[in-house]
Amino acid sequence: MTTSTTTSTTEARARGRFEDLPALMSLMTGDEKHNPAATSTLDALWVLYDRVLRVTPATADAQDRDRMLLSKGHGPMAYYAVLAAKGFIDPAVLPSFGGYDSPLGYHPDRMLLPGVEISSGSLGQGLPLGVGTALGLRAQGLNGPAVWVLLGDAEFDEGSNHEAVAFAGAYGLDRLHAVVIDNSSATHGWQGGIAQRFAAAGWSTATVDGRDHEALHRAYTAEHPGRPHVVVATVEPKDS
């Protein structure tokens, strides 16, 4: 199963280009208020799906797939565009964004869209779900698949995240990974930086330029034996 996953991943990686994403995103209109939220995730999501995650449309239901949980469900246009570029979504559905019969809402719904691991929109649900997913894979002896959860710096205000960060660090849940997109949108900020909250709980951490694909890739693929890993991807402030 691992071999076939690797092969199909290689095939999938031949699909789509980063340069295609703006055109795909422009097909989705109506949620412009969340444009900053959408574009802040674009590079981080692209590098994950293009170079890191072992999941393709063909393996979207495979038990040993990597899982990417979009916790920060706001502004999912970049997410949908990446999924379209990678073949999970037919680009022809993108213009239906937000429509009554569309599978593409302003917040994603896993029951409507293949390849979407969780339904999100209420902030702070994803990291606890990611903890449970990592626990479930471990309990089934599946130590290969990685679990990734994408959060925002303002989403990190929600206390449920802190329950998950403290537990995952103490438990040494090393197949759990978080990406925090930091566009300085948290109302009261995070004095001293977000990474140190994770570090204090025992996580491996990296803080990188969220527009630098090589830096993102290095941070995503850093070794972190025995510990969960967080990548804080810093991008331009939301209000700039």
Binding site: T133, L137, A166
Partner: protein
């Protein structure tokens, strides 16, 4: 006799040995009692600490990987505190878990309002497709827990109380069971209030139905009991949580026929007293004397 909570520990510990799909998530409450299970199954018995949003979120994640999660703590911290996680990390994700609570509405009144959850079943009523079991005896608790763990991927709530009946009823999960028949109306007793209801209706010509499952509500069973024992559509509901929680289910079951309903249970008003369970049951009118006065007045 053991308590239902003790039976939960015994049954779950045994079934964790037999069913590799089961996983138990705890938030400190009852955790020490599961130490032997944790030693045997460290990856499937996980105590997350006093973190109830994570308790339910982690259960949702376990279910996403195909496991059958069981989450347990006091009712107030299992349903009320993380209610949005129950709504979104379970129901909305399209996955299921078994939530097993202790403490109920009035098990430990000396602990005060913070440890009372009379609204738990009413809250779950706002969500689609939940099964709610309210056993009244450790034997029934075992039967319903086994049923819940094997109940596909459904969301199931099992409400365990320190109040329990002297003897078990031979229940069929999901069905009302007639424990006494009469012609002067039907009294539906839910779980641990059965003994008080039987004492209160002693000598009255009424049918007593027993419900250890309240969702889905056994509408056909209620209609059949009314059909079998006379035409009067008089129904009394006695529930060990918020009064009227199942009133809508009774009205839906009897929507096409004239009927009257008296719905008894824990009052909505906050009862700002400590003390014992017996004192609270008396104050709520849920002891035999209080029930007899209200049921007798309503039915005759």
């Amino acid at each position: 006799m053991d308590t239902m909570r003790e039976r939960f520990v015994d049954v779950t510990t045994r079934l964790l040995d037999e069913d590799p799909r089961l996983a138990l998530v705890l938030a400190d409450i009852t955790a020490a009692s599961f130490d032997p299970a944790h030693e045997r199954h460290p990856d499937r018995v996980v105590n997350v600490g006093i973190r109830e949003q994570l308790l339910i979120g982690a259960a949702g994640g376990l279910a996403l990987t195909g496991m059958r999660p069981i989450a347990h703590t006091f009712a107030s911290f299992l349903v009320e505190r993380p209610f949005e996680q129950v709504k979104l990390s379970l129901s909305h994700q399209g996955v299921g878990a078994v939530l097993v609570s202790a403490g109920g509405s009035y098990d430990n009144p000396a602990a005060g309002r913070t440890h009372m959850a009379p609204g738990d079943v009413a809250l779950l009523d706002t969500l689609p497709d939940w099964t709610v079991h309210v056993p009244g005896h450790p034997e029934e608790a075992e039967r319903l827990l086994r049923h819940a763990y094997a109940d596909g991927d459904r969301n199931v709530y099992v409400r365990l109380s320190a109040q329990q009946n002297e003897t078990p009823v031979a229940i069929e999960p999901g069905r009302l069971t007639a424990v006494r028949t009469g012609r002067g109306g039907v009294v539906v007793a839910v779980g641990p209030v059965l003994d008080a209801v039987l004492a209160a209706t002693e000598g009255l010509d009424a049918t007593v139905l027993y419900a250890a499952t309240v969702r889905p509500f056994d509408r056909a069973g209620l209609r059949a009991a009314l059909d079998a024992h006379g035409g009067r559509g008089d129904v009394v509901l006695v529930e060990p949580y918020l009064a009227g929680t199942s009133a809508h289910a009774v009205h839906e079951a009897l929507a096409d026929r004239p009927h009257r309903l008296l719905a008894l249970g824990v009052p909505r008003a906050e009862h700002r007293h400590y003390g014992s369970m017996a004192e609270h049951l008396a104050a709520y009118g849920l002891d035999a004397a209080g029930l007899r006065e209200r049921i007798g007045t309503f039915l005759w």
